[in-house]
């Protein structure tokens, strides 16, 4: 009981979360995931999934177009690098604003419907944006090549202070380069802030009202709440998170391409959220961790590494095992992910978090008889 009430304290949760995130380079090292590139991805997609969970987890509205805001955030950030400064702060702020504005428009139109129709509308808007980025919007998006930095960019604010040097400048935070570990820590700090805001929303009256809309929207109307502005607010908040995530992608690697807006990218965040546990605080982050880990680790394995791994087996068995398992690594890592996803959705509809809850419940059930026995004996005395 005391352990549970301790976890109900926001500051305890935040302290644990902060330590866990900042020490990721240490505790992820044994599983080979502690290199900056992957750590940055964990943090960036973590922000994306946390924001998405505020919409999908609390209101139940399944958006299939959230990659739009990711792409928009990236483009905005790169334009900020090109026109203003290589400092990442303005880029991040602009991306959040522009992501939010896009979310207001798309959300306002899509939220006129609910259920599957809402999902289809968001998907349609996303594919529309994706195709426009490749066609009519080429002057802004640079089409298939993607938007990149060039030496001829004006960079008006930077130009006032320093003369342009040789080669392309790199992104920085007041002079601190945003590549490698410093880039990860910048993303990590924003992830911690993002998680804190999400925690506050989950435990606020606003969060409870969103859950009530998910549970019975019609009843909400007769209870005296206009549900539309609630849904739109949740949609825009998640759009701002996605814009931020998109900006951070550009911060760690300053280019933006339209493929970031494709439906597969929207689908990925849905997968992450469901895999980890919809509507739980930590679940989406677990989903991000699992999917990004698989993507980076399993896709890097090849037949040679498999032969090494299974070299303890007799030769004929080794060949069979490698022949089968090779379909699940390298380019075939999606197959592994697909199998994992099916297993989890079928056996644990609440995602990995439900698995944890079941284990905790089992542990409680196993320990309770002993406690009760102890109480009975003490009563007899």
């Amino acid at each position: 009981m005391s352990k549970r009430s301790l976890l109900k304290n926001d500051w305890v949760v935040m302290a644990l979360f902060t330590v866990a995130v900042l020490s990721m380079p240490i505790w992820l090292a044994p599983i080979g995931a502690a290199y900056p590139d992957l750590l940055q991805k964990f943090a960036i997609f973590g922000i994306f999934a946390i924001g998405y969970n505020i919409l999908f987890g609390l209101t139940g509205y399944l958006s299939f177009g959230h990659a739009v805001f990711l792409g928009v955030g990236s483009y905005t950030a790169v334009w900020s690098f090109k026109l203003l400064t290589m400092n990442v702060l303005p880029a991040v702020l602009f991306a959040m604003v522009v992501g939010g504005l896009f979310a207001v428009v798309i959300g306002y139109l899509s939220l006129r419907r609910s259920g599957i129709y809402f999902s289809i509308l968001t998907l349609a808007f996303a594919q529309m944006s994706y195709n426009m980025a490749y066609s009519v919007l080429t002057p802004i998006t640079n089409g298939e090549t993607g938007l990149q930095l060039t030496k001829t960019d004006p960079r008006m604010i930077d130009a006032m202070f320093v003369a342009p040097g040789e080669g392309l400048p790199s992104t920085n935070l007041f002079g601190m380069s945003m590549s490698g570990y410093s880039g990860f820590y910048f993303c990590a700090v924003l992830l911690i802030i993002g998680f804190f805001i999400s925690l506050r929303i989950f435990r606020s009256p606003f969060g409870l009202k969103l859950l009530a809309i998910k549970s019975n929207q019609n009843r909400m109307l007769y209870t005296g709440f206009n549900t539309k502005p609630y849904l739109l607010t949740a949609f825009v908040i998640s759009g701002v998170y996605a814009g931020l995530a998109g900006a951070l992608m550009a911060v760690t690697d300053p280019l933006a391409g339209a493929e970031r807006m494709q439906w597969t990218a929207s689908g990925e965040v849905v997968l992450m959220t469901i895999l980890g546990g919809v509507g739980t605080l930590i679940g989406p982050l677990l989903g991000v961790g699992i999917i990004k880990y698989f993507e980076n680790i399993f896709s890097a394995l090849n037949t040679n590494t498999l032969h090494q791994t299974f070299s303890f087996l007799p030769d004929w068995l080794e060949d069979i095992v490698v022949a089968i398992s090779s379909h699940f690594v390298g380019d075939g890592w999606h197959l592994t992910l697909g199998v994992l996803f099916m297993v989890i959705v079928i056996f644990l509809p609440g995602g990995v978090m439900e698995g944890f809850q079941r284990i905790a419940a089992l542990a409680r059930r196993l320990s309770r008889p002993q406690q009760e026995k102890a109480i009975q004996t003490s009563e007899q005395e």
């Binding site: 969060g207 409870l208 009202k209 007769y222």
Partner: protein
């Protein structure tokens, strides 16, 4: 006669060729319990839906405390002070019992929309107290942390009543509050509604169970085939031959 809270004038409603409501005139007095009875298909639920803004009448007016209610959104009608308790329990099945009652308490305090994402729900002791108080009144005090969706049907109806009462409505509309309840639960609900009556809350009750109607109602309107065929005190209705004809085919009430 006391203050008229709700005034329904010349309301008509047709569905296709069916005349669901014809020239309904009804005044609800403040502090009174007004029962609407009638055989199945008489138009009772249609009338209630017109009052609550779920259906728009073809003609006629519905005025609540002097304000026109027709065309208003459900949440606007709620904030005007008219609250409906549904026939099939409409609750938030995924929330717990306490949260179910906190939501309407929040609605009463906050209006149709308030963005309060950065205040803590646990810090809203006032709202929680209100909800607990009502739940204890209705005998649900022992189950406030239960999952609302897995309660018994009778408990769900009591929960919904709590959700209505926590808003202190000026007018409470009850759609068959005891339908499907055991005799024991029915009597309990009657006692409860009597208690509310003592506090002077105006109510409209739609009910099949004559035992409930005659224990609670100050006035009764009898609907048959979309028209009000009789209105009066319980005693007047009991002795009205027209009512006996329409309602029970001539049998004694």
């Amino acid at each position: 006669m006391g203050n008229i809270v709700l005034s329904i004038k010349d309301v008509n409603k047709t569905f296709g060729g069916l005349h669901a409501l014809g020239d309904i005139n009804l005044d609800i007095e403040e502090g009174k319990t007004h029962a609407i009875i009638g055989p199945n298909g008489a138009g009772k639920s249609t009338l209630l839906n017109v009052c609550i803004g779920r259906l728009e009448p073809d003609s006629g007016t519905v005025e609540f405390e002097g304000k026109n209610m027709i065309g208003l959104k459900p949440y606007e009608i709620n904030h005007a002070g008219m609250v409906r308790v549904f026939q099939t329990p409409e609750i938030f099945p995924d929330l717990n019992v306490l949260e179910n009652v906190m939501i309407p308490a929040l609605a009463k305090q906050e209006g149709v929309f308030r963005f309060n994402a950065f205040t803590s729900l646990a810090g809203r002791r006032d709202i929680e107290e209100q909800a607990r108080h009502v739940l204890e009144d209705l005998g649900l005090g022992g189950q406030i942390h239960d999952h609302a969706g897995s309660m018994s049907r009778g408990d769900k109806r009591r929960l919904e009543l709590a959700m209505g009462l926590v808003q202190h409505p000026r007018l409470l509309l009850l759609d068959e509050p005891t339908a499907g309840m055991s005799r024991h639960d029915t009597n309990r609900t009657i006692d409860l509604l009597k208690k509310i009556k003592e506090r002077g809350m105006t109510k409209i009750i739609i009910e099949h169970d004559m035992h409930v109607v005659f224990s609670l109602a100050d006035r009764i309107s009898v609907l048959a085939q979309g028209r009000i065929i009789a209105q009066g005190t319980p005693d007047e209705i009991r002795g009205n031959p027209k009512v006996q004809e329409a309602y029970l085919g001539g049998a004694e009430l």
